[in-house]
C-alpha cells in the first residue's frame, strides 16, 4: 500500500458463512486509502491485512472480466471501477449482488444465469455449414452495428441485480441472457432466430419484463439490455399474429 495521507474510510461488508450462520450480518472495517483506490482494492486491503476470511470474487481489475460485481450502497456496481474517494467521509456498505442466493459473504451463486445463458443458444446457427476454406462471411460495418453493442456483455450480472422482476420471479430469463439472445438473432451470419423465438415467446422469455429499465442504467458497458428485451416483445407479438397470416415453413 502507498502512503495514504492519513485518510481512513469505513467499509461495511455483508458477512455470511454457510457453515456457521443462518442469516447474514454486517461487519465494518477501517481501511486506509488513497484517492486512486477502488472499492475492490479496499476489499483486498481488508483481506490482506485485517481479515483473511472476507470472501469476494475478482480478477482482471479493469472492468472487463465481470467477476467483481456487488451492491455498493445499494447500487449494483463493479467494485474495480468504483472508487473509495466517492464515499468519503461517510463510508460505504458493500453487499453481494442482490436477487442471487449468497454463497458466502460477497460471493453469489451464478448458476441460474449460466443455465439461462445455455437456454438462449448463444452461438451462431448458420443457414448451411460453411467450410473454413471458403473464408469469412461478408459483413458490412452497418450489419455489424445491428448486434455489436449487445455483444459487449461481460456477464457481470449487474443487470440481474437491477431487475426487480427477476428478483420476484426467477423463471424470467432476464436482461443479460436476453440481450445475448438478441445479439445472435441480429447477426447477419445467424439463421437460428426461429429456434430462439420459442424461448422469446414463452412466459419465461421476454414477457417477464415490465421495462423498469434499471438494467440499462447500471450496465457498465452501456449495452441497453432493456432495449434488446423490449424489441423482442415487438418481435414476439409480430410472430404471434403473423403466424395466422403467413405460417412459417417449419411450423
Amino acid at each position: 500500500m502507498n502512503a495514504t495521507n492519513g485518510k481512513v474510510i469505513a467499509i461495511e461488508c455483508l458477512r455470511y458463512d454457510p457453515q456457521t450462520d443462518d442469516a447474514p450480518h454486517y461487519e465494518t472495517y477501517q481501511v486506509p486509502f488513497t484517492d486512486d483506490m477502488s472499492v475492490l482494492q479496499g476489499l483486498q486491503y481488508i483481506k490482506d491485512h485485517l481479515d483473511g476470511s472476507l470472501t469476494f470474487r475478482w480478477s482482471c481489475r479493469m472492468a472487463i472480466c465481470g467477476s467483481c460485481g456487488g451492491m455498493v450502497n445499494g447500487v449494483p456496481r463493479l467494485s474495480c471501477e468504483t472508487f473509495l474517494r466517492d464515499f468519503y467521509p461517510e463510508g460505504l456498505r458493500v453487499e453481494p449482488l442482490t436477487h442471487f442466493p449468497i454463497q458466502r459473504d460477497l460471493a453469489v451463486d451464478q448458476t441460474d444465469f449460466l443455465v439461462k445463458l445455455r437456454s438462449i443458444k448463444p452461438y451462431i446457427i448458420p443457414e448451411a455449414p460453411k467450410p473454413v476454406t471458403e473464408g469469412t462471411f461478408l459483413q458490412t460495418p452497418q450489419q455489424m452495428d445491428e448486434y455489436y453493442q449487445y455483444s459487449q456483455c461481460i456477464n457481470c450480472l449487474l443487470c440481474y441485480a437491477a431487475c426487480p422482476q427477476y428478483g420476484l420471479d426467477r423463471e424470467f430469463t432476464g436482461p443479460g441472457a436476453l440481450a445475448l439472445l438478441h445479439r445472435y438473432n441480429a447477426d447477419s451470419r445467424d439463421a437460428g432466430k426461429a429456434e430462439r423465438m420459442e424461448l422469446v415467446n414463452a412466459d419465461e422469455g421476454v414477457w417477464g419484463c415490465t421495462l423498469v429499465s434499471y438494467c440499462s442504467e447500471v450496465c457498465p458497458k452501456s449495452i441497453d439490455p432493456a432495449r434488446a428485451v423490449n424489441q423482442n416483445k415487438v418481435e414476439s407479438t409480430k410472430d404471434y399474429f403473423l403466424r395466422f397470416v403467413a405460417p412459417r415453413r417449419n411450423g
Binding site: P18, S213, Y214, N230
Partner: protein
Amino acid sequence: MKTYTRTMNGWWRRNPFYLWYTLREWSSFFLTAYALVLLFGLARLAEGAAQYEAWRASLASPGAVIFHAAAALIVLYHAWTWFKVMHKTLPFLRIGARRVPDSAIFAAGVASSVVLSLLLLWGFA
C-alpha cells in the same frame, strides 16, 4: 450447498430509481379511475339530462378536482416515461448510415403529444 436468499420485501423503497418506477406504474390506478369516471359519465349521459348534469356538477366538487389534478400530473409523468423508453421497443432506425439517436425518438414522442394536446384543446373550444 447451503445458500442464503434475501427477501424482496419493500424492494421498491430500496433505490430512488425504483420509487420513480413505482410511481410510473401506479399512474395506472389514476388512469383506470379516470376511465371509470368517463364510463360513469357516459352512463349518466345515456340516462338523460338530469342525471348527466348531476354527474357534471360532481366533477366540480373539490374532491373531484383534486383527484383530476393528481391524475393529470401522474399521467403526465407516465407520458414522459413512455416516450423516454419508447426507443427501446424499436429496431435501430437509420437515416443513411447514421443511427437515429434515442433522444430524437423521445423528442418526436413529446412533440406529437404536445401537438395532439393542443389540437384537443382547440377541438373542445
